[in-house]
């Protein structure tokens, strides 16, 4: 065995992973190599000295001091920030969905409102607004068609690349999630 292999075994010794066979090989090497023997004795000394350092105890009053500071702080209310954020984004999603439904069915809603005279004052404001939305939609549609004509030739490549990217992303997410679950299970 050369000195480099002996050094690897010394690292395994420090990890506490040395098998009996490896220990015998290392032992044989250090009886013949003075440099490795000195190195091993130093590593061994480090391991033993570390084991003597493990009994550090925190001061007796640390806990009481920490707790008196904690009691001076406000208590958690059982509702974490993340829950509040979930609620906030949920509300935004509902409002946006309702808005989208109203915009998409605006013609029918305006027709029904026109049948009832009591909505007349509101319709004075809503009709021009609906007309603006209609114009905006028409302009957007025109822009999309123009962009489509330019982009269309490239789409033959974009679609397969997008599908492959999504598949790779999905695999990475699945792999990471699996590792995370394994770690939690440990």
């Amino acid at each position: 065995m050369d000195c480099e292999s002996a050094n690897s075994l010394m690292m395994k010794y420090m990890d506490g992973d040395l098998s009996e066979h490896e220990a015998a090989r290392l032992n044989h090497h250090i009886t013949e190599c003075a440099a490795c023997k000195e190195e091993f004795m130093l590593y061994d000394s480090i391991v033993k000295d570390f084991s003597a350092l493990t009994l550090v105890k925190a001061p007796d009053d640390l806990e009481s001091r920490v707790m008196s500071s904690i009691y001076a702080l406000p208590a958690y209310t059982g509702q974490t920030v993340s829950h509040i954020m979930y609620g906030f984004w949920g509300l935004i999603a509902v409002i946006m969905s309702l808005g989208a439904l109203l915009v998409m069915n605006r013609d029918y809603i305006l027709e029904q409102m026109a049948l009832n005279p009591s909505f007349a004052p509101i319709l004075i404001f809503l009709n021009p607004l609906a007309a603006s939305v209609k114009t905006l939609f028409a302009q957007t549609q025109m822009l999309v068609q123009q962009a489509g004509a330019v982009v269309e030739p490239g789409l033959n490549w974009v679609v397969p690349i997008a599908v492959c990217s999504l598949a790779v992303a999905q695999f990475i997410i699945y792999h990471n999630e699996k590792q995370r679950k394994e770690k939690v299970a440990e």
């Binding site: 493990t54 550090v56 707790m67």
Partner: protein, 189 residues
């Protein structure tokens, strides 16, 4: 209270029961204190910093997710807190002579003296290591954490952590060698 898991205790604290936090302090005070003490080498400062770390843990408890063990998260906060503290203080190393550890031992006074001397030597050379080697070395050899746990704490890949521990050991060996050569100690060579 001691039958609860860490996560159950945390959920209890988040539900408003502060008393449960004391059990978490009981469980991890020695770990936090010894990691800080090894990094800072001053009992008084370590004492204050340990207290600050537990208060920080309490304030950030709602950000803890059980992806990692609570001990891992705790040490990560403790090491980062000490690094921030030292950065603010702009202090790299402090004398180690005053540090004494309460070791329970039934050895003779002579062998205990030798052990204490050797421990002091080790403490000195460990304190001289740069943080990037010192933290993984202390967590592995002194606190008995696994490579994976250290990788989670320092937020570095496993291979990098292993390399730093191996390199750190070599640096410790070189320092110890020169220290002992100065003292004229050899191993029968």
């Amino acid at each position: 209270m001691s039958n609860y898991t860490d996560y159950e205790l945390i959920q209890g604290v988040l539900a408003g029961n502060k008393d449960l936090f004391s059990e978490l302090v009981t469980r991890y005070k020695n770990l936090v204190y010894s990691v800080i003490l090894r990094m800072i080498n001053d009992r008084e400062e370590a004492d204050d910093l340990a207290q600050e770390v537990f208060i920080k843990l309490y304030k950030n408890l709602d950000k803890y997710y059980p992806d990692f063990k609570f001990s891992t998260w705790t040490i990560r906060i403790a090491t980062n807190h000490v690094i921030d503290y030292r950065r603010k203080k702009k202090q790299e190393t402090v004398p180690i002579e005053d540090v004494e550890f309460s070791l329970t031992s039934e050895d003779s006074p002579e062998s205990e003296y030798i052990k204490r001397e050797q421990s002091n030597e080790l403490k000195k050379i460990v304190s001289e290591l740069p943080d990037m080697y010192k933290i993984p070395i202390v967590l592995y050899h002194e606190q008995g954490l696994s490579y994976q746990e250290i990788s989670d704490i320092v937020n570095e890949p496993l291979s990098k952590v292993k390399n730093r521990i191996f390199r750190g050991r070599r640096m410790l060996k070189e320092s110890l060698l020169s220290l002992r050569h100065k003292e004229g100690i050899s191993y029968g060579l």
